[in-house]
Amino acid sequence: MSHVWLPCGLYHQEYTQDHGWWQTPLIKGKMIFLLAIIFIVFPLTLTGYWFGVANMVGYTALGALGVQILIGYAGLITLGHAAFIAVGAYTSTLLILQFPWPNFFINWGLAYPISIIIAGIIAGLWSVLFGLPSAKVKGFYLILTTMAAQFITVDFILTQYISQIGGRGQAFSLPPGTIKIGPWIIDSEIKTYFLMAILLTLCVVIVANLLRSKVGRAWIAIRDNDIAAETLGINIIWYKLLNFFVAGFIAGLAGAFWVSNTAALSPEHFPWFWSLWLVGVILIGGVGSIHGVIFGSIFMVLAMELIQLAVISLGDVFPELMMKFLYIKESVFGLIICAFLIFQPRGISYRWWQIKNYFNLWPFSY
């Protein structure tokens, strides 16, 4: 049974068509249109400030994608995802700054791309380490172990030990020109934008494909009822750990991407707040939907930018508001999450689905 709405006159003759990637010409057209907007229209029309916003959306979406795999597709609730993003970011930075690369590697600009992959793998393994308790516990107890991951990784290991490497104290500064992919030095926001767009597109495609394979079906079975999944012969420990690995891998990529977007890296970029923020993003976007990740990231980042603009414009009248912007942001974020969960528990992606359905049958909805 296909999940895709087929227009009148179009029907499938084989099962493989039912599992197809782009099932109708309309979907294919829409997707190509979307790619054209991301890779051609946005770079041509956006200006500096909005590139920054777009990069933030992309970074949030990459992080939230991992959270979505864990929470939305395997039911493994995590409140420590920022730890794995941090591991990715630090792995990448340390590889670039400290690893004795052969000269031709640096000249050809291979150091950063390789470090992205290694960052993903290390973050994935780190995530599996903290996913081990998931073999025995679930629900609230698992939340606590992921919280432990956050505090142990960021507040202890990274702050106390890793940050001391090289004797720089708190932050790693990344000199301009160190982040280089092939011949391109990533030094402007538009280049970061392209890096973000490519990484995000790749990750979304990979995850979406993974979810319609055996692995994804096993994850969804575990989410819906883990005991039933086990009786069906799914090795739930293996698949849960695989889930942690994939989520951690994407978090590592997100962290390695963040390195290109910042001039200095410090543990303050990955507070517990950020872990909770990512969970908030997928709750607002919709749990169990890849659309939800993107919608949630766009909504949250834009909402915060709008609040910032509002506060700045009010700043002339109430100057103390400017000083306390961060606190207002925190409060508003909390209220938005509560309001969404109470009034719109299925998230933005559910509304999107309703709108799409409406227009599929429009104007004759019978």
């Binding site: 929470i71 609730i77 409140l79 903290f130 081990l132 308790p133 025995k136 516990v137 629900g139 609230f140 107890y141 939340i143 606590l144 172990t145 919280m147 432990a148 991951a149 505090f151 142990i152 507040d155 202890f156 702050t159 106390q160 009822n225 005991i227 039933a228 009786t231 707040f273 909770l276 969970v279 908030g280 709750l283 749990v287 306390k324 961060l326 606190y327 207002i328 942001k329 925190e330 409060s331 508003v332 974020f333 909390g334 209220l335 938005i336 999450i337 509560c338 969960l341 109470i342 528990p345």
Partner: protein, 294 residues
């Protein structure tokens, strides 16, 4: 040996305060099934409210009483406005609402009281420690412990002898049976939140006496989570034992492990211990083992 005994006793004293906060947490979970992650912010609110009353010239004990009253009001409000609508929703939804609440509270706290460290001035407890034999105990710890025990006794009496306390106990034990006997669920939930706000508030005020009040007191309130996990989520004696264990673990790790892992081992050790502990005893010491059926 001397060092060991001293850290042990200090740990037990601080642990008493943690146990008090943990009691509020377990009560909410037992009565309404809500897993509350906003406990840290509740302790912060208590600490700042007490401080504000104290700075206004009200004696410390009276400001604690005022904090208790404000705790009751806030607890009932929070339950009515946010959590009442979420009865029966999935666990993630409820947890994230409490997370949202914690951000909301934290933002408001920072907005009102800002982030500077504040201390109770003049200090409430005398600074020089009490010496018993060769053990020195600071006054703050001792009085916090005594006050925490006192509140425990009050709460225990409330549960054992008052009509309302019995109703809450009945709901925690078997919700359906209690409701069919005419216990008002809304009252019980509101009562649980009021008690949680009260215990967290007093806990925050006491913890604020130790090192002064800033946002990191909220982190101390978060330590209640390892405490309740050690004791098992739905056991009130477990909360007390867990709270004291966390206090002891924290102090012992600060005294002995700090040499090998300099910096901050005290803050993360309870969490690390908890993560390993869960591998061996997933339901804590006295938690109910949930038997799942398809």
């Amino acid at each position: 040996m001397e060092l060991f005994l001293m850290t042990l006793i200090n740990g037990i004293m601080v642990g008493g305060v943690y146990a008090l906060v943990a009691l509020g947490w377990v009560l909410i979970y037992k009565c309404s099934g809500v897993l509350n992650l906003a406990m840290g912010e509740l302790t912060l609110i208590g600490a700042y409210v007490t401080l504000t009353f104290y700075q206004a010239g009200i004696p410390f004990v009276l400001s604690i009483v005022c904090t208790l009253i404000i705790g009751i009001i806030l607890g009932i409000l929070v339950e009515r406005i946010f959590l009442d609508r979420l009865i029966g929703e999935p666990i993630l939804t409820v947890i994230m609402v409490t997370v949202g609440l914690s951000f909301f509270f934290k933002g408001i706290i920072e907005f009102i009281w800002e982030t500077k460290t504040r201390v109770f001035s003049p200090p409430i407890f005398p600074l020089e420690p009490i010496t018993v034999g060769f053990i020195k105990i600071s006054n703050v710890y001792l009085w916090s412990f005594i006050l925490a025990i006192l509140l425990f006794v009050i709460f225990a009496a409330f549960f054992k002898y008052s009509h309302w306390g019995l109703a809450m106990q009945a709901t925690a034990d078997d919700e359906t049976a209690a409701l069919s006997l005419g216990v008002s669920a809304r009252f019980v939930y509101a009562g649980a939140w009021a008690i949680a706000f009260m215990s967290a508030g007093v806990g925050g005020a006491l913890l604020g006496n130790v090192n002064g009040i800033n946002i990191s007191v909220g982190y101390l309130g978060l330590l209640v989570l390892p405490a309740v996990v050690l004791g098992g989520l739905n056991s009130i004696p477990g909360a007390i034992v867990g709270g004291i264990t966390v206090g002891v673990l924290q102090n012992l790790s600060g005294a002995y492990l700090d040499r090998y892992f300099p910096g901050g081992v005290k803050e993360v050790f309870p969490f690390a211990f908890m993560a390993v502990f869960l591998l061996f005893k997933p339901y804590g010491f006295w938690g109910w083992e949930r038997i799942e059926r398809m």
